[in-house]
């Protein structure tokens, strides 16, 4: 063979040469083998790190729908204009070349002027200060890159008739850190701007429009507290690789359903890799895992009833602070849950100028209004007279004859203390009249009978007063309800029992708890676990929807049907009889059973009229109870004057909604225009 023939030559010099050449070639081959075969993986990794940039693509967030599939939270396209730096690189180079020539000329001119002034040729050292240094070059590059970009941006801004700011600092930061991805220039264009851009600027070099999905609450403030809101958050979800070069804007739920079901709504982020050249400019993109949209969440809320409840609440008084809960008495479904004051969750998904933002945050953090507070679950309210329903049930169970009359003095004398006042006035009361007129002395007298207090506590405990329902995280207070130990303690006096029996003192509740209570009275004693979620529908029909069963029993009331019937009849009288305190709630067509309440609130040892809790709790139709409406307003005039009219409006809306359903031609917008 050719090679070995040469290696075996009998000419020693040529043999030496052949050995050297052979050795050299073997060294090269060994080196190449080491680099290209043994270390190939290492160098391929290096190649990827220097030429591939991974970008996280957030998934489209799932929708939140009402019980009929109408959107409460959805996504709308947001049109954004981006600057693609790689398309500008030729312009950058040209502008830089021009600027460099000019700078050179300028410096040469200065040098010539200096020489003329000194009338001699400058020394090498002196000439150095007129040289184009690396720093000058770098500055020139930054300057020309920025100028080229800002000219194009200003040009597009002029065509869109909107001043688009592009700060040099921001531009430089993007250029240094994120050159491979487009620079967002203008977000959220309106439709005129979209049309203008499409028409005039589509061929502007380096400019292009992209569409991103933006969270949108089509009904603005409706159900704001329930839905919650989002905050920008680019963190990876569990099980997602955390190593990305860049991340596109993503959002995470901070409160409400958006928070509770964030994982389901958020979907699975996708990823793409961007191939960049040696200057870091984008060459092409490969999506290696597409984003998987989030799941849709269907609530028990009825959009029309929700809207009607909110409107009714807002109309109760100026800056009304309060809540309305509408519940299905048959299964505990929450049909509406309104809290006022409220806010527009769209605010959190959009970008704002600092002034608007500051104003909004000032409102959101107002100590008196507390718009972020979900008053239906998050506020501790003294129940006042509506607690007499529980006391009444306990008394009936303990053998109270409902027809037995009781003579009231119009106040209850407390030995050694100030007497407890009464709005029902003096006179003879049977059970029905006492509940309807809310006679304090009647119920205090009942509560002070032996064996009554533990019975009241037992009924309250079966209603799970003083416990959270677990409907939404971080938006619920358990309230407070005394335990048997509390009332057996020596510190517990008769005065406490008296206060407690009229829903004051050591008891606070939430409107939601009251709705559960009224539902139990209405449905014959079933204490439901309130339900807000109907089902979670996966994106695509491949998986079955996750359903949440309706009518989950939490407990039973444990009182006789007779007692319940007597209480229901008394509640009916409260609305039906013209002298009943809740008469303002009555509507034609349905018989409503209700109970008003007005609880004094002591602040700093004094009665605070503005903090008075006014209540109206009710259910309808009495013959076949389906709906529970609970309304509460802080600082209202009284339960009958402030809250019963709210329930009145809500019932009208519910009736209208039922008629609509019967006609099977839902016109969802009609009720929305109630205002």
């Amino acid at each position: 063979m050719l090679i070995f023939d040469q290696l075996k030559k009998d000419d020693p010099q040529l043999r030496f040469l052949a050995v050297m050449v052979f050795g050299g070639m073997v060294v090269l081959l060994a080196g190449l083998w080491w680099v290209q075969v043994v270390s190939a993986g290492y160098y391929q990794d290096k190649l990827e790190t220097q030429s591939l940039r991974s970008v996280r693509i957030p998934a489209v967030r799932g929708k939140i729908l009402d019980r009929d599939g109408r959107p409460l939270a959805e996504n709308r396209p947001s049109y954004n204009i981006n600057l693609y730096l790689e398309d500008l690189s030729a312009k950058f180079q040209a502008a830089y070349a021009t600027a460099l020539t000019q700078t050179r000329k300028g410096l040469a001119f200065q040098m010539a002027a200096q020489e003329k002034r000194l009338n001699r040729e400058l020394t090498k050292q002196e000439k150095k200060q007129f040289a184009v240094t690396l720093k000058i070059k770098n500055d020139l590059q930054e300057q020309t890159h920025y100028e080229v970009s800002s000219n194009i941006v200003a040009d597009v801004g002029a065509r869109l008739e909107q001043n688009i700011p592009l700060a040099q600092k921001d531009f430089q930061r993007h250029y240094d850190k994120a050159r491979a991805i487009p620079l967002p220039v203008l977000a959220n264009l309106n439709s005129t701007q979209v049309a203008r851009f499409e028409e005039q600027s589509i061929h502007t070099p380096g400019m292009d429009m992209d569409i991103q999905s933006l969270r949108y609450y089509p009904n603005n403030t409706t159900a704001a507290h329930l839905l919650g809101y989002l905050a920008r958050n680019n963190d990876s979800s569990e099980g997602e690789p955390a190593e990305y070069n860049y991340r596109m804007d993503d959002y995470t739920g901070l409160t409400g359903i958006e928070k509770l079901l964030d994982k389901e709504l958020r979907g699975t982020a996708g990823a793409k890799s961007v191939l960049v050249n040696n200057l870091g400019y984008r060459q092409r993109e490969t999506v290696w895992s597409p984003a998987e949209p989030g799941q849709n969440v269907v609530l028990t809320i009825d959009l029309d009833i929700q809207k009607a409840s909110e409107v009714a609440l807002q109309e109760a008084q100026a800056n009304a602070r309060g809540a309305v809960v509408v519940m299905d008495a048959r299964n505990g479904d929450v049909l509406a849950m309104a809290s006022n004051p409220t806010y527009d969750p769209n605010f959190f998904a959009e970008r704002h100028d600092p002034a608007t933002s500051a104003k909004m945050w000032e409102y959101l953090n107002d100590k008196n209004l507390r718009p972020q507070w979900n008053r239906a679950m998050q506020e501790n309210y003294a129940p006042g007279s509506i607690f007499k329903i529980v006391v009444g049930l306990a008394a009936l169970e303990q053998g109270l004859n409902p027809e037995e009359t009781f003579h009231s003095l119009g106040y209850f004398p407390m030995p050694g203390r100030k007497p407890i006042g009464d709005t029902a006035g003096a006179g003879d009361f049977n059970f029905s009249r006492a509940l309807a007129k809310s006679s304090n002395p009647y119920f205090i007298t009942q509560a002070l009978k032996p064996g009554m207090l533990p019975k009241i506590i037992s009924v309250g405990q079966r209603l799970h007063l003083g416990e959270r329902t677990g409907l939404l995280p971080r938006q619920e207070t358990p309230g407070h309800f005394p335990s048997l130990n509390d009332v057996a303690a020596s510190s517990w006096r008769d005065g406490d029992t008296a206060n407690f029996s009229i829903g004051q003192g050591p008891i606070v509740v939430t409107p939601l708890q009251m709705a559960v209570m009224i539902a139990a009275v209405a449905n014959g004693g079933k204490v439901f676990q309130p339900r807000l979620l109907t089902r979670i529908e996966p994106y695509g029909a491949t998986e079955a929807a996750q359903s949440f069963p309706e009518g989950q029993l939490r407990d039973t009331l444990g009182v006789s049907a007779r007692s319940l019937r007597i209480v229901r009849e008394a509640m009916l009288a409260d609305v039906e009889s013209p002298e009943g305190t809740g008469h303002a709630a009555a509507i034609p067509g349905w018989r409503i059973a209700g109970k008003t309440g007005t609880a004094e609130v002591e602040r700093n040892g004094k009665k605070d009229r503005s903090a008075k809790n006014t209540w109206f709790v009710s259910f309808a139709p009495v013959e076949n109870p389906r709906y529970v409406v609970v309304a509460t307003v802080e600082g209202g005039a009284s339960g009958g004057l402030t809250c019963a009219p709210i329930a009145h409006k809500v019932y009208l809306a519910i009736q209208q909604r039922e008629q609509q359903r019967d006609k099977k031609a839902p016109k969802p917008e009609t009720l929305a225009q109630m205002r």
């Binding site: 050719l2 090679i3 023939d5 040469q6 030559k9 000419d11 010099q13 040529l14 030496f16 040469l17 052949a18 050297m20 050449v21 050299g24 070639m25 060294v27 090269l28 081959l29 080196g31 190449l32 083998w33 080491w34 680099v35 290209q36 075969v37 270390s39 190939a40 290492y42 160098y43 391929q44 290096k46 190649l47 220097q50 030429s51 191939l275 960049v276 050249n277 040696n278 200057l279 060459q283």
Partner: protein, 406 residues
């Protein structure tokens, strides 16, 4: 004039195996010069007749013509003109150093402008040196025992070496040393002279490197900044150590950046070759090439091998190495069959020259040699290199044609 064809009818006049290897390398060259330049936005838009791959074809044609001319004239006749050629080459090497004659590119004066086209005298000086050295050493072996003759031969080598180093072109200068030494050895110069010479050169080189790499700043030899940085990169030295003891943090940082940039080409060439893996990414599909990570100015000439290694992988590298081996070993065979010592020395010179180029260039791609700017014969783009390489092959074939008649 003797017509060898008459003497050995059955043997082919030229070495066909070698010629085949040369032609395949030329085809590879055109393909990868095309790949290296057409991926580049700024050059792919040029008209076809201004494209590098087309020009390379033109150079190959011219080079084959020149090689044909060199082939047909008996090397004995050529060698009579050896010293004329040598001194003309020296003249050009001097001329290239004169500011308005030699043109400056990348900080070195290596080109002579000859009315529209530029050529690199050092490429031809190498060949002229081989001719002259072969002619000088082909005297009777006894004379080579004289020290005077030995030192004359060394002088013959040092003159072009120093002139090329002055340009400066470290790589082209350095390849003269192994070439000259191999020819001295093949000529039968006493071994002890050569050993003395090698130890002297070795010691000098050692001192030189030690000085550049380790000596305190004020004792360091003055070198061109880029040559120094290439050595520092090769020996993996920390630049910041060269900033001086009272350098500020900013200066040190600048030195580190400088180091990063200087080592960039080597690093990118390594990534290109390494990421090519066993089979490569396919012709024109090299990312390092297409995305511009390989040095833009050098990827179709000095760094052409990294394009081949990336796009054709280890298999491609083996093919290239094999083709060079065929040329080199047929060259050694030609040297063995040469009619006389002149022919043998010519062949040894050419083989060593080609081998040095191949070893330094490919070695640079896998970081066993410093980056010195030596073209890869027949593969690298460039008129002077192509012409020089093909004339060298022509000389080999010449020795083959006028070989001993067995």
């Amino acid at each position: 004039m003797i017509f060898p064809g008459i003497n050995n009818q059955r043997q082919p006049r030229i070495d066909l195996v070698q010629l085949g290897a040369v032609l395949v390398l030329m085809l590879i060259s055109i393909a990868f010069v095309y790949s290296a330049t057409m991926s580049n936005d700024s050059t792919s838009g040029l008209a076809w007749y201004r494209q590098s791959y087309f020009r390379q074809m033109v150079w190959f044609t011219l080079g084959l013509g020149a090689a044909g001319v060199v082939c047909v004239i008996d090397y004995h006749a050529l060698s009579r003109w050896a010293f004329v050629g040598y001194w003309v080459a020296i003249l050009f090497l001097v001329a290239v150093l004169i500011p308005h004659v030699g043109s400056m590119r990348y900080g070195a004066r290596r080109w002579v402008d000859l009315g529209g086209f530029q050529f690199q005298p050092s490429e031809f000086a190498k060949l002229a040196f081989i001719m002259a050295q072969a002619h000088f050493l082909s005297r009777p072996v006894d004379e080579l025992r004289q020290r005077r003759i030995f030192w004359k031969a060394i002088g013959l080598m040092l003159l072009p070496f120093l002139l090329i180093m002055k340009e400066p072109d470290l790589g082209s200068g350095l390849v003269l040393l192994p070439t000259g030494l191999a020819m001295l050895l093949a000529a039968g110069t006493p071994k002890r002279y050569l050993l003395q010479l090698i130890s002297i050169v070795g010691i000098l080189a050692g001192l030189f490197l030690a000085d550049v790499l380790y000596a305190p700043p004020k004792y360091r030899l003055k070198m061109q900044e880029y040559q120094k940085s290439r050595l520092l990169v090769y020996f993996n030295r920390n630049y910041a150590d060269y900033a001086g003891p009272d350098a500020s943090e900013a200066e040190r940082k600048k030195m580190r950046e400088q180091q990063f940039n200087d080592s960039l080409n080597v690093r990118q060439a390594l990534i290109a070759a390494g990421s090519g893996g066993l089979t490569g990414k396919g012709w024109r599909n090299g990312q390092q090439n297409a995305l511009g990570f390989l040095p833009q100015a050098g990827k179709h000439n000095d760094f052409i091998f990294s394009v081949i290694a990336e796009e054709k992988g280890f298999f491609g590298s083996v093919i290239v190495i094999t083709l060079y081996s065929v040329i080199l070993f047929t060259g050694i065979r030609i040297a063995g069959q040469a009619r006389d010592r002149l022919g043998k020395l010519l062949a040894v010179g050419v083989v060593t020259l080609l081998f040095s180029h191949v070893f330094i260039n490919i070695g640079m791609n896998i970081r066993i040699m410093p980056v010195t700017g030596v073209p890869l014969p027949l593969l690298s783009y460039g008129g002077s290199s192509v012409l020089g390489s093909l004339i060298a092959i022509g000389m080999l074939q010449n020795v083959h044609i006028y070989r001993k008649a067995y």
